[in-house]
């Protein structure tokens, strides 16, 4: 055994060291640079697309009045040269100000606070379902390789990854709402119902925190169908990927060693196989979550779910630069956090990563 190194504080070590803390510091610094890069790209893209945000946000008659147009441009800083607009945006961003939406005329930060939790709620639910079910089905599939359960699961997971989200959403809505009448309808709650006081922005949880079980249940019933539709693709991906990585791990010598000890098959799978398999599953889960955010734009529109996807759609159609930028920032931050989470989990699961930094 090597002697345990004495830990001394050093600024240099914080950036180059192999411990957990320097690792986080490095990652956060990278994250800031990434966000900066993303603002630049998003800004450039919105400038490059043809179309006039003023025309998109003012009515026909207002647009024909040069005075109103000038006032609108001045109010939103559109009369400034583009580089100045960008620098102004960055300056405000540092103070947490994301500007004012051209379409809703409200601060973008406020809009996001309202729309993002709705998306977070279905996305988290979908990821949870996809992960738990996907790992379970993928493992069963690998363990019954080439036999009936495996074949059934493979057909379903292939179907899952092949169906376009939009199509799944419309079909599911048609079947479960119009035909079977099981789904309560669109939106997050019954029309006109009072949303629970905002704590997290997730209705199911906020209602519970408020001690209001029936509202929580109602929110859950509205949430279920869009969340499951959203989960279908990720479920397919995670199932297929789990099967492949469990099969790969099953072929390892150390699994044969585990079996040679006479452990139950359950123990062999849970302790010796799933742990290494999780390493790759976590990576794919991060990717699946990303695709899920993209899918949410379509699902939210079908189910009139007032989330980030709908907001993004409206901002894009309205050439609402601050709105689009705001959505990009949120999505970028989510991605960066997901990646960070994946890397942290990696280190938790794999001792070699911990030792190697």
């Amino acid at each position: 055994m090597e002697p345990v190194p004495v830990r001394t504080f050093s600024l240099r070590k914080m950036f180059t060291g192999t411990g957990f803390f320097p690792f986080i510091v490095r990652r956060l610094l990278t994250a800031v640079l990434l966000i900066l890069g993303i603002t630049f790209i998003a800004f450039s893209v919105t400038q490059l697309v043809p179309g006039d945000p003023v025309a998109a946000n003012l009515g026909q008659s207002a647009y024909s009045d040069p005075e109103i147009v000038a006032a609108f441009e001045k109010e939103f800083g559109l009369d400034q040269p583009v580089p100045i607009q960008y620098i102004t945006y960055l300056g405000k961003l540092v103070q947490g100000d994301l500007g004012v939406s051209l379409s809703s005329k409200r601060p973008v930060a406020e809009d996001l606070r309202e729309y993002f939790p709705a998306t977070l709620e279905i996305a988290m639910f979908a990821v949870f379902v996809a992960l738990v079910l996907g790992i379970l089905l993928g493992t069963i599939s690998a363990m019954t390789r080439d036999r009936l359960p495996d074949q059934i699961i493979r057909v379903f997971s292939l179907t899952g990854v092949s169906m376009p989200v939009f199509w799944t959403a419309i079909t599911a809505f048609y079947i479960f709402f119009f035909v079977l009448g099981w789904a309560p309808g669109t939106g997050r709650l019954e029309p006109g119902a009072e949303p629970p006081p905002t704590v997290t922005g997730l209705f199911t949880i906020d209602a519970l925190l408020n001690g209001d079980l029936s509202t929580s249940k109602e929110a859950l019933s509205y949430l279920l169908l869009p969340a499951l539709v959203l989960a279908v693709y990720a479920l397919g991906v995670i199932t297929r990927f789990t099967r492949a990585s469990v099969l790969e791990i099953l072929g390892n010598d150390y699994v044969r060693t585990a079996r040679s000890k006479g452990l139950s098959e359950f123990t062999v799978i849970r302790r010796h196989v799933l742990r290494p398999a999780l390493l790759s599953i976590i990576t794919i889960a991060g990717v699946a979550f990303a695709s899920l955010l993209a899918g949410s734009v379509l699902v939210e529109n079908v189910f009139s779910w007032p989330g980030l996807g709908q907001y993004a759609y409206r901002s894009a159609v309205g050439l609402d630069l601050p709105g689009i930028m705001g959505v990009s920032m949120v999505v970028a931050t989510v991605f960066i956090l997901m990646n960070l989470l994946v890397d942290v989990l990696y280190r938790v699961i794999d001792p070699q990563m911990r030792d190697a930094g």
């Binding site: 055994m1 390892n252 010598d253 040679s260 000890k261 006479g262 452990l263 302790r271 030792d355």
Partner: protein, 325 residues
């Protein structure tokens, strides 16, 4: 007294070219406290023989015949019955110590999990046994070794840990698949000494697969030579090493390196061993045999008892005929 009796074992494996027999009609016995050495070129079916005894053939592999262990037939026993034998009565040390330990679990977990599973002992007493086992296999500082992971040990240390793991439940039969091949000479000597000591202390029976002449001569009581999935010759260690009868054994022994190198092409036997699924008809060795006659490619050789404890499968070898007269 016989602990293990393998009779007519045939192992069929699924290959890309269809099913192929990797082991063919193999029969042998191991007594209580006996050490049997198995040698033969790469691909002769040594590992598959071992895996069929412990019931862990690769995917789609099938064994037929009979494996009689400790008073009962185990080849036909259920998965559950096999799990109760594995790790407890029959333990195995695998060929490659670099890949046979789990990279993410602590040594403590790997040393104690089967002990706790089979013997239902408490965590504390399992830990105590693990410490003693590590001490037995001469791992320095067992307490901190328990907390470590496989990646922190060298090949020799890992092999010792694998041995400790195999011994945890005090098995009756230890199958060791080339346990010293990957190790340097001094470590090898230590492990051989350890195995000898375990045999005399615990009356352990050992089936050891090796290419190493030193191991064969210093450790084993009896030796079986395999070629193309079948026995070529078997006998007591000194007899077989000093008076090999089968042309293959003669070539093999003269070519065995003092320090074995796995997969080394034998210099004194021309050609290379046949590939799985492509074993020659008659005596599988006839294509490489300098004594071969026409009949060798036609007839499967029958057993020739050289003496009480020595037999071989080559009816026409002139050397053999001489000794029989």
């Amino acid at each position: 007294m016989t602990l293990l009796r393998v009779a007519d074992l045939t192992v069929t494996l699924a290959t890309s070219a269809g099913d192929a027999e990797a082991v063919r009609n193999l029969s042998f016995e191991i007594d209580h406290g006996e050490i049997l050495g198995i040698a033969g070129e790469s691909g002769s079916g040594k590992t598959m023989t071992a895996l069929s005894i412990i019931g862990l053939l690769p995917y789609k592999g099938k064994a037929t015949g009979s494996i009689y262990f400790d008073g009962r037939e185990i080849l036909t026993s259920s998965k559950k019955e096999y799990r109760d034998i594995r790790g407890k009565d029959i333990a195995m040390i695998f060929q490659d110590p670099m890949t046979s330990l789990h990279p993410m679990l602590t040594i403590e977990t790997q040393l104690t999990e089967h002990l706790r599973h089979h013997r239902k002992v408490s965590k504390g007493s399992a830990r105590q046994s693990a410490l003693e086992l590590l001490d037995t296999v001469k791992i320095p500082d067992p307490a901190s070794a328990l907390k470590a992971h496989a990646g922190q040990f060298s090949g020799g240390m890992r092999q010792r840990i694998a041995i400790a793991m195999a011994l945890a439940c005090d098995p009756k039969l230890l199958i060791a698949d080339e346990p010293t091949t990957a190790l340097d000479v001094t470590v090898q000597a230590g492990i051989l000494k350890l195995l000898r000591q375990l045999r005399s202390e615990r009356d352990l029976s050992i089936m050891i697969i090796t290419h190493d002449l030193g191991v064969l001569s210093s450790l084993t009581d009896r030796i079986m030579i395999m070629y193309a999935g079948s026995e070529a010759e078997s006998g007591t260690a000194p007899d077989l090493l000093l008076h090999p009868r089968h042309p293959y054994t003669q070539g093999l022994i003269s070519a065995l390196p003092g320090v074995a190198r796995q997969g080394k092409v034998l210099t004194t036997i021309g050609g290379s061993p046949p590939e799985l699924g492509n074993f020659p008809t008659g005596c599988a060795f006839h294509e490489r045999c300098s004594y071969a006659q026409t009949s060798c490619s036609l007839e499967v050789p029958s057993v020739l008892q050289v003496s009480d404890n020595h037999r071989m499968f080559c009816p026409i070898n002139p050397l053999a005929e001489k000794s029989v007269k």
